[in-house]
Subunit: 202 residues, 2 copies
């Protein structure tokens, strides 16, 4: 694919993902996605003959972004552990905690709450094998980060990667506007309570 | 209203609420509600000329049930506090904790997660004044129970009644079947993590 064709395709995908964060994906006309992405509707249809193919591309795009976030966190923790031989244990735990918190909020920011229920198929067995493999890879990366986070006692050992991903998605789902008006910063407050709930109970 | 007419009306309301727990309320034909409730469709329409009036009646029914649960908990705590003069403090805290946990799970069981987003209007200001008054009464009762629960350090003081009601509703929202299959007992696990997150952080 030529560079400008690739750019147009990427613009369509990221626009579709971004619009789906505030509205139900089925309710967004493909014409609107094309317009917002700055491409003609013919270009959109040439890249994505139907809604399903666009949805698959969005799922891959998000999984790719989540993978990058997790690899960065994992890499940072590995470096910290190597340096840890020489450093103070309390500073080490503090650094891991910072990386973990950042990772959690980055995943929320990515749009887990709005997007997971849209892109997750009704039956997990019907997920395309390719996407399923990438999804499992993401969960594996998170489980790997968790081994370090468990070791320093930041998160209760009973909670694994899949539970945390679904929990973040549940806590950050968009709220009915009538409820949002009753609690300041409602969506963030829900994520904060969820993250507190992952800590070990003393 | 005669007793049998009242019974039929109540059957329609509780059937409508119960069906709305697993399916989107708009998608449930009124004919199905009538049939499940064991009444004719004419009886349903005589009681509820349109969907909105049935929805209002369901909201009142649920608020009434929640009010009863809260009054029972409040009453039990009042009795405990009177007896507390003579009892051991640790047993007292343990009893309050039991009442609190029971209350939380009863509210989940009532169907907060499935029903709140359906019955909450898009703009809280558009809630009928009568239902709004009853809703505020429920939140007031919960805030009252919370003063006791805060005092014994069971729940962090920053969390008030409205945050907890919305949080329970968020945590217990039905999950996409594809995700439910990945974590055993997913909906309950989400509520458990939310309830842990309300505790004070040591």
């Amino acid at each position: 694919m030529r560079a400008d064709a690739r750019r147009r395709r990427d613009a369509i995908i990221s626009t579709a993902c971004s619009l789906a964060r505030t509205r139900h994906e089925d309710a967004i006309p493909l014409e609107e996605i094309a317009q917002e992405a700055g491409v003609g509707i013919a270009t959109l249809y040439r890249n994505f003959p139907d809604r399903l193919s666009l949805r698959q591309a969005c799922a891959e795009f998000l999984i790719h972004k989540a993978t990058t976030l997790l690899e960065v966190a994992d890499h940072a923790i590995t470096i910290l552990e190597e340096e840890h031989q020489h450093g103070a244990p309390s500073a080490f735990s503090l650094h891991i905690e910072k990386i973990w918190d950042q990772l959690m909020w980055d995943l929320v920011e990515l749009g887990l709450g709005t997007l997971m229920p849209i892109f997750a198929p009704n039956d997990i067995a019907s997920m395309s094998p390719d996407i399923r493999e990438k999804f499992d890879h993401v969960i594996g990366l998170l489980d790997n980060v968790l081994t370090h986070v468990h070791r320093i006692g930041l998160i209760d050992r009973q909670f694994d990667g899949i539970t945390i991903v679904i929990g973040l998605s549940t806590a950050s789902r968009p709220q009915v506007p009538g409820l949002s008006s009753l609690v300041p910063d409602l969506e963030k407050q829900m994520v904060r309570i969820f993250l507190r709930g992952l800590r070990p109970v003393s």
